[in-house]
Point group: C2
């Protein structure tokens, strides 16, 4: 015949413990004496009361919420990163809150506004990049301790991402050593990474004494596979490829390109009888399931997540310091499969 407990006041009553102590308990169970903790927990089982989160956050300067914002959640790269980040945050006692910009500036701004209204303790954001409303994002980071990842726009307390100038030479070297030097397939860059990759490609090729060949195809939006397939089809059928080795700006583009090659009857791979070698970048979760499996450069998902989250926790605990903005560049690893 348990009555419904709605407030902490009521719970204090039925548990026989004063409200301030109950409050202390919920903020940190270790902060009350063992015996009272036990009494509270017994009552808790009997009445299953949970404090009202809105009332809690109303008085707290900083909540336990951590915002995670990505440019496109349906991209498996971000889906996977978010998955790992969410886990880390929960393990540390925070409540992650996920937002996606769906590739649109307006929605990114909306997401940041919605997040900010939650007064989060901190935020992990991968900005749209080129399409971000820079001022908007900067204003956000003024109010909320923020670690930026993946796409390095110069806001927030820190950046964590992969080092294109390390990763691209890896794959370029390999491709040059094992066959015809690659051309570079890119689409209009959605973020700074895309530019860095192209620049890194050019640099790497020149270092090796080869002539860099960049193919910029059309297409916008986040349908990378479709762009890779459509433009790949066009390039192949019109024989406009300057090299039989194609390094794609990212794996999703490569997946589309491989599909195009397949449909045109070109065999992709490094073996005998193959007409084309294709490589990507990122080691997307699906890269190992292409036909043939994709040779690529793997971003270190765990490291990106770990470093980002660590830095954010540090910011939350110790506050912002006057130190210079931290930039963590993480090494990538070459992943050799059979596409190149």
């Amino acid at each position: 015949m348990k009555r419904k407990i709605k407030t902490m006041e009521e719970f204090a009553e039925v548990s026989g413990i004063s409200r301030p102590t109950i409050s202390k308990y919920f903020n940190d169970p270790e902060s009350v004496r063992r015996s009272t903790r036990d009494r509270i927990e017994v009552a808790l089982e009997a009445y299953s009361y949970r404090p009202n989160i809105f009332a809690i956050n109303q008085n707290r300067k900083l909540t336990k919420t951590i915002g995670i914002v990505v440019p496109y959640l349906a991209d498996p790269f971000f889906a996977e990163i978010v998955r790992l980040m969410e886990r880390r945050c929960m393990d540390a006692g925070f409540s992650p809150m996920i937002f996606s910009a769906h590739g649109e500036q307006r929605l990114e701004n909306d997401a940041l506004a919605a997040l900010q209204s939650q007064r989060p303790a901190g935020a992990l954001i991968a900005p749209l990049g080129r399409h971000s409303d820079f001022e908007s994002v900067r204003r956000f980071t003024e109010e909320v301790p923020t670690v930026v990842f993946d796409s390095n726009i110069k806001v927030g307390e820190a950046f964590v991402g992969s080092d294109s100038f390390q990763s691209i030479p890896l794959i370029v070297d390999y491709l040059c050593r094992s066959g015809e030097p690659p051309c570079f397939l890119e689409m209009p860059p959605v973020n700074p990474n895309a530019n860095k990759r192209r620049d890194a490609y050019i640099l790497a090729m020149e270092r090796l004494g080869h002539d860099p060949k960049v193919i910029r195809v059309d297409g916008n939006g986040w349908d990378f596979e479709r762009i890779g397939m459509d433009e790949g089809t066009r390039l192949i059928s019109k024989k406009e490829l300057p090299s039989e080795t194609v390094l794609c700006s990212n794996d999703r583009l490569a997946i589309g390109f491989i599909a195009a090659a397949y449909q045109q009857g070109l065999r992709v791979g490094h073996g005998a009888g193959c007409a084309l070698r294709v490589a990507g970048h990122d080691d997307h979760p699906w890269a190992r399931f292409t036909c043939p499996p994709l040779t690529t450069v793997a971003q270190d998902y765990s490291a990106i997540v770990d470093r980002s989250v660590e830095k954010l926790f540090d910011l939350i605990e110790n506050g912002r310091t006057e130190e210079e903005r931290l930039e963590v560049l993480i090494e990538c690893k070459l992943v050799l499969r059979s596409s190149a």
Copy 2:
């Protein structure tokens, strides 16, 4: 020299309008006279004030939050559904909140608890299914108006999903008519859909006078592609496939299976010189980029989202009725590509 406006009281002061009216404005801008609305909006630009969401929700019986819970966000099917749902909710003036169970019962329960503590106006949930803590989910739906989608466990006010007994016959018929009758490749079912699909397969085959052949492979978790590839490799190399036409329980499994076939040197497709036909189910976003492109049955993403969201809005507006639980089954469409 604008001072920081933190409360509605202060904003009322600087805008020269009373607080209750400001409050009305934020609840519905149309509810105040044109002239005052203008005055408020002018002040709003000058001071960029936003009401504190916690204080708001503390007093409202029902918030503007809508929870979206999926079993695995990194699955492109759910990523896409979530994307569409989020959009619809925002357009209707709600704040969607996304949760993923990451395939684990404990995390599903955590997500539901976290969501419930937000006192959402309603929830759209795709339960884990077989691995759901049924009682937990049921309790949740008692407190929160809920539409269940994709996986029909019998809780909540309504279910919206695809009709396996309509979709599977479509593809079975087609496969039988165009070649050898298919065997059915499934993994241990993660949700009721998987069972229905198998049963529908058996039924469809029997109707056509063929002998149904179900292959149940091992594997758990949500790495469907990996399971499809590993088990496909095994089945092919050991020649254990009872038919040269393979209908996979879902597209992700099929993607893995196709990769396996490719690596074993088997040509997939319906043309001459092809050793194997492979078909899937769902029309995942990546299905068109397999090699060869995947023949499958398309779930109607928009319809699923539309119907779910409509019903939820109806529930929120009109409250729960005593009517029977609504079950909406949406038709699928055959998508013929070249894999079968």
